[in-house]
């Protein structure tokens, strides 16, 4: 089941300058810490001239779609799903 959330969220992120890669490591949502296990896809797009990064990640059997606004540097949790219907 997928649920649209669309609300601010706390995220711990890691940037590896050797690999030039960044990825969310931990999400704090619903009074719980979710350790990110895999990043399925990291894509970005422009909303006008604002670059938005989207991270599709899994943590503890759940799917999270996170948005990083590069103008405000704020994170938003867009969707949560458990992989079922």
């Amino acid at each position: 089941m997928m649920e649209k959330i669309n609300s601010p969220v706390s995220v711990i992120m890691d940037f590896n300058h050797h690999q030039r890669k960044l990825r969310p490591m931990q999400i704090q949502w619903n009074n719980r810490d979710w350790r990110v296990e895999a990043v399925g896809l990291h894509h970005q797009y422009y909303s006008g001239r604002k670059l938005v990064h989207i991270f599709s990640v899994t943590a503890n059997g759940m799917f999270f779609k996170l948005e990083l606004d590069t103008q405000s540097l704020f994170w938003k949790l867009l969707e949560v799903a458990d992989g079922s219907v």
Partner: protein, 395 residues
């Protein structure tokens, strides 16, 4: 037959595979990407797992759920698909500079003048896609002497296929290939060919130019004659395009003019953006509505060419009837009589020049802050229609 130097790359189950790539929890499960989640919504892309169950593009959500109640139904995420499209293009560009995006999930690549064996190049491309984009995303690659045969080859083995049609194997392939499997031959044309004694692709190939011309009653017969012999007939230049069209299926059927305006606006903007990109103008516009049991259309012409979406919108709504008899399911805008926008004809009082200047500024603001930042005043209260991806050629 010329040497096989054309390649066609097709992402397997594109939208559904991208959803599975981004959400690993969906990998191995039947997934469907639909236009709308309602029971009557149509499936745009089904995952391999869903296809194995007989669920494919065009199946309705209700039917799919009857076949497989566990199917995961998702609405399209257009930004994600466009991103993968760009990533794939980046990968392909390393192998040949001559790439044409045929649609969001298909690319035609011309390798004329590029050294190397195309079968090994195709294998390398597959490996690189797995590394750069993700191993879940697979492509079927076809190789042929022209674009048409390369596409035909790409359709022959799915998923993750690699097929070449060349002068050594085309006879065997044609003898086994049904007419309906050829891109551009629908069941009606296949029936017409069968009535003329052409049962399969080999018969089609063996038919004379005169016979094909008489079956098709046009020059199309001759095109088919050469196409099946590996001659390039499909690489027409963009300049040759005479019209652009944009079509949209409504989630909720529209009953009146007011409900249609935002849809027409969005379609007009899409058409206008294309004109802007191609530096062209159009002097004809047609509006088409698909109602419950019938369709309606009206054509309009303007003396001075339309150069942007705002002008197209203004002309298109003039065509819209005051009263709509029935419920509208689908809307389309066609713009035609395209010419290079070398100069813009102003009117006697300079009103048009001012309007174009104004809309140009509005377009710039929309480009900077996102589509829909500035909309015509009449649409202020209207809901926005979602972004959508057409199935036509991407340019």
């Amino acid at each position: 037959m010329d040497p096989s130097r054309q390649m066609h790359v097709d992402i397997n189950s594109c939208f559904a595979s991208i959803e599975q790539l981004s959400n690993p929890l969906l990998q191995g499960k039947p997934v469907a990407v639909v236009a709308y989640k309602s029971e009557r919504g149509v499936i745009l892309a089904a995952s391999r797992e869903a296809k194995k169950l007989g669920i494919g593009t065009g199946t309705r959500v209700g039917e799919a759920k009857k076949i497989c109640p566990e199917i995961v139904v998702l609405e399209p995420d257009t930004q994600k698909y466009r991103f993968i499209h760009r990533q794939l293009k980046k990968v392909l560009k390393k192998y040949s500079p001559r790439i044409v995006a045929k649609s969001i999930d298909e690319f035609a690549i011309n390798f004329k003048g590029v050294e190397g064996n195309l079968i090994s190049t195709a294998k390398e491309i597959k490996k690189e896609i797995a590394v750069e984009i993700g191993p879940w995303l697979t492509v079927s690659i076809g190789i042929g002497p022209n674009r048409f045969l390369a596409k035909t080859a790409s359709n022959m083995q799915k998923p993750d296929g690699l097929v070449e049609i060349n002068s050594n194997n085309f006879e065997n392939i044609y003898k086994k290939l049904d007419l309906i499997k050829l891109n551009g031959i629908n069941w009606r044309t296949a029936l017409r060919l069968q009535l003329a004694g052409i049962e399969n692709t080999w018969d089609f190939y063996s038919a004379s130019r005169q016979k094909l011309k008489s079956i098709f009653c046009s020059v199309l017969g001759e095109y088919w004659y050469w196409r099946l012999r590996g001659v390039e007939m499909d690489g027409k230049k963009e300049e040759a395009k005479k019209s652009y069209s944009n079509i949209y299926s409504l989630k909720k059927r529209a009953k009146n003019r007011v409900e249609l305006l935002p849809v027409i606006y969005q379609l007009a903007l899409k058409s206008g953006n294309k004109l802007r990109r191609k530096k062209r103008m159009a002097t004809g516009v047609a509006l088409w509505l698909l109602l419950n049991n019938s369709s309606w259309h009206k054509v309009g012409r303007v003396k001075s060419g339309m150069v942007n979406g705002w002008e197209i919108y203004r002309e298109a709504i003039k065509l819209l009837p005051v009263e709509i008899k029935g419920e509208v399911r689908r809307v389309a805008i066609y713009i035609f009589d395209l010419k290079p926008a070398l100069w813009i004809q102003d009117d006697l009082f300079g009103k048009r020049g001012k309007f174009i200047k104004l809309t140009k500024t509005a377009d710039l603001i929309n480009d900077k802050f996102g589509a829909g930042t500035i909309v015509p005043g009449t649409l202020m209260e209207q809901i926005k229609i979602p972004d959508f991806i057409g199935f036509g050629q991407v340019r």
